[in-house]
Symmetry: C2
Subunit: 300 residues, 2 copies
């Protein structure tokens, strides 16, 4: 699905990761290793689909699509580090620090994050739109977004680094609120920025950008529920990583809180809400809707 | 020296690091710990001085000054990590990962880098200047700049991760070229971006920006030579970190290649070249000149 857009995005990666004398070869190899590891390319495809759904030319949005996938990739490299989630396997291959080394992996992540902002600032036109996209991306990826969410997630697993406010969450509704707060930041914000950037590049008005943002928020949560479900019911070979890891680690998950059936029901209901919210886009929004349904039905 | 500008910049830090419900408390504490550790604030002061020297209002440049110090701080946090330079002490206090923990330190660095771009994109006006500043900062900090330089520096110390091209550098002139290539990227590019951003915010013309860039390149190299000299002749108490560490590690340094006297002579000559290059700025450039001389005379 969306193979054509995925191909456009992957050609974009090539352009921005061409060899240069000023970048050490090993660092570039390490970056390419993780960027080219594949994956669904969900975020960059969303940028292009949102641009198209607002009547823009999706090719104008390629730099933003490349940038968001670079940021997603950097976050995976850093999250996998021994000091963080300590994962050896990602998409069926050794994680970056296993294939290279920890120092290289840290720098590859730092480099990808930095390159993402350079690409958007250099290539998105006009300057007002470039600036708005940098703000979308940075606020989504930063300490009140993805980085903050990863921190809160780690704190949930490690009482020794938890904030005082996180202590003693015994009752179910507080647990759910905390889980949702983590995911809204850790995955939700970046997905939303994919949609708002696509809209901005198509010169969509403020109401449309807000509509896309709400769509992104709903599918972000649905995506996370689907991820938790896949961890329980998924096939390790298709996933390219270990399954049932969350349960083994005693991690807070949606199926753990709600059970399988209720989790599935809520994910479906979020996708329905997402699709309803973009009805004003009419037929142009159909491919975005299809993407939303795919989030739920994917098996990896 | 430049206490007034340093104070303005430090007030800027406060504004951008105010508490928020969306950022975990420990993450913010860890960021503030490193940002508030002090230091010379050389880069942000340069942004303001360059803006002033080009006839601009230095207060317009505060967001860019804050951003560059955040990027400098992130680079120190990540460079100190066990997988990188493995330092326990920075500016007389435990390094970030010693005071907090490795995961928090990695995320604090990631968060600072991201926040830097958000601040510039949000606050610098007009959008064309903001975009140019994001490009300056990102290209200076990225894989062909600071991150690439840090990688090359590590590779110089660890043959097991060196690129094929780095092997067997026995002769003196190749060693010098390699050392210079590392420093031009690791510290030089970011210093240059401080000056070009200041110029851009003052709406300086292309020639003036290039002049500032050359000034920055000269003082960047002089700064590194002075740093190497301080490692040999410096006072550990004033430096707030161990001295003579480079020599113990058998690291390639300028005094190691040229001797003390010749290193001093070259640093002075670079500063002279820097000062000559900004003569066209006239009296408005005097404070930038004073800063250049300070780089050489500092004792920490």
């Amino acid at each position: 699905m969306f193979d054509e857009f995925r191909k456009i995005v992957e050609e974009g990666f090539e352009r921005y990761l061409a060899p240069s004398d000023d970048c050490p070869a090993r660092l570039r190899e390490s970056i390419r290793y993780s960027v080219e590891a594949g994956g669904k390319r969900l975020r960059p495809v969303m940028v292009l689909l949102a641009c198209e759904a607002c009547g823009g030319d999706p090719t104008d949005a390629i730099p933003a699509a490349v940038a968001i996938e670079f940021i997603h990739t950097y976050s995976l490299i850093h999250d996998d580090l021994p000091a963080m989630d300590n994962d050896d396997l990602r998409r069926g291959r050794p994680t970056n620090h296993k294939q290279f080394d920890e120092a290289t992996a840290i720098l590859a992540g730092d480099g990808l994050l930095t390159l993402a902002f350079e690409i958007v600032a250099r290539e998105i036109k006009p300057a007002e739109v470039a600036v708005a996209c940098v703000v979308d991306l940075a606020s989504a990826a930063g300490i009140e977004g993805m980085v903050g969410g990863q921190m809160a997630d780690l704190q949930g697993e490690r009482p020794e680094i938890a904030d005082a406010a996180q202590a003693g969450t015994d009752d179910q509704s507080r647990k759910i609120a905390q889980l949702e707060a983590i995911h809204l930041r850790k995955t939700g914000r970046l997905l939303r920025s994919a949609l708002t950037m696509g809209g901005r590049i198509a010169k969509a008005d403020k109401n449309t950008i807000e509509m896309l943002d709400h769509f992104g928020k709903c599918i972000g949560l649905a995506f996370q529920i689907a991820d938790d479900l896949l961890d329980i019911t998924g096939d390790a070979a298709k996933m390219g990583k270990g399954v049932r890891k969350d349960a083994e680690l005693g991690k807070l998950t949606y199926p753990g809180l709600w059970g399988l059936e209720e989790s599935r029901r809520r994910a479906r209901s979020l996708i329905d809400e997402a699709c309803r919210s973009i009805e004003p886009l009419g037929d142009r929004g159909l491919r975005l809707e299809a993407l939303a349904r795919f989030v739920l039905e994917r098996d990896h």
